[in-house]
Symmetry: C2
Subunit: 227 residues, 2 copies
């Protein structure tokens, strides 16, 4: 089964799609990448992911899998080389718990920060900083969440190393203060130097332009204001 | 490891806590149940689940696991008897995908329905009905999601069989029309007749009183209106 053809529908700036790219690269799985235009969704995307209509979508033979966390677990269970989730059920539970925590308490709040202004942005940034403080406690004393090698949680939280600094720059927010969060900063450095991560990231300048426009568009459509 | 003492912090009306109760009962795992007052949270809850401060919390020996989906997967990986998740990675991915879908698109929207009024309630009920239509397609031709026995998805979606009809009654909303959704209705019937589900449900009358008060309180605190 593992030998069947693998295709990935992604979008060049999506941190969710990169989770799947990193997992496939770490496992050494060959795949065909199909770039999706998320602003003019293809019939293929709408057919394969009719419920959420979003990337990433993994196609493995005749099977279709959606949602990045679900896909990364599927990849881990399908290709046993380079295990991503820990072996012990408790460590696996912790990885799943923290992946969800980071998604709802850091990713969503930080993104809300750059898609808002004034007090709303400040409140969102404050919540994001509180989430980082919890992640700081977790990563203290560890090189990576996966130990010596990139694991499930490093993949799920990997966007913090590259996307979040861009969001901070675009939103003029400081969320990861390296003085306050030295362990998180050191983890970011380790992640960014890992060859599979380093060699599979979108171009920074293009990302800044994209995030500036996207966050402005969302703010304007949410509030009806022009900025 | 599986022999260590098991304790569960729950709340009598919580559908999330019942997922864990059902999983433990299906596995035949003995545990001590500790009732939590979610309106006056105990120091134990705040100590064990400082990030979310909510039930359920599973204590297994010295290990603490939070979040119902994470706990049910931990239980499945720790006690191998009566497997809950399917064996095949793709079937596992589907179970995880649909559990998340039902949570965000049905549970959250239906609950929003009873915690709102007028057009807002109508909009929420419409979204909930759309989600049930998707679940109807999935369950068509199946006795249970787990095949002949209760599986992970039956546990995760089990609240639909008992909590949702109470929410419909309290909110004067019809979400699961048995004519439009015969397969879902038949699945509900099968779930409610399973001994482990049937014998582990909160009392209906007390639930109605609780949901009436809780949804009214949330509506009033959200809107500042008195009803």
């Amino acid at each position: 089964m593992a030998q069947q053809e693998v295709k990935l529908l992604g979008f060049w700036a999506s941190p969710f799609a990169y989770r799947v790219i990193w997992a496939l690269k770490l496992k050494g799985v060959d795949y065909e990448y199909i770039e999706e235009d998320i602003f003019n969704k293809s019939p293929l995307l709408l057919q394969l992911n009719p419920l959420h209509k979003r990337v990433p979508v993994l196609i493995h033979g005749h099977r279709v899998i959606c949602e990045s966390y679900v896909i990364v677990q599927y990849i881990d269970e399908t290709w046993p080389q380079y295990p991503l989730l820990p072996q012990h059920p408790y460590e696996r539970a912790m990885a799943r718990f923290w992946a969800e925590f980071a998604e709802s308490k850091l990713l969503e709040t930080a993104w809300m920060g750059i898609c808002s202004r004034g007090e709303e942005r400040e409140r969102a940034a404050k919540l994001a900083i509180e989430a980082v403080a919890k992640i700081e406690e977790l990563v203290k004393g560890k090189k990576l969440f996966g130990g010596e090698s990139i694991g499930y949680l490093d993949i799920c939280l990997g966007w913090i190393s590259y996307w979040l600094p861009i969001w901070e720059e675009v939103g003029c927010m400081q969320i990861i203060d390296p003085i306050k969060f030295p362990a998180t900063s050191s983890w970011i450095d380790t992640v960014l130097h890992h060859p599979v991560i380093r060699d599979n990231l979108p171009a920074r300048e293009a990302m800044i332009v994209y995030v500036q426009k996207r966050s402005k568009d969302i703010y304007e459509s949410r509030t009806g204001l022009r900025v």
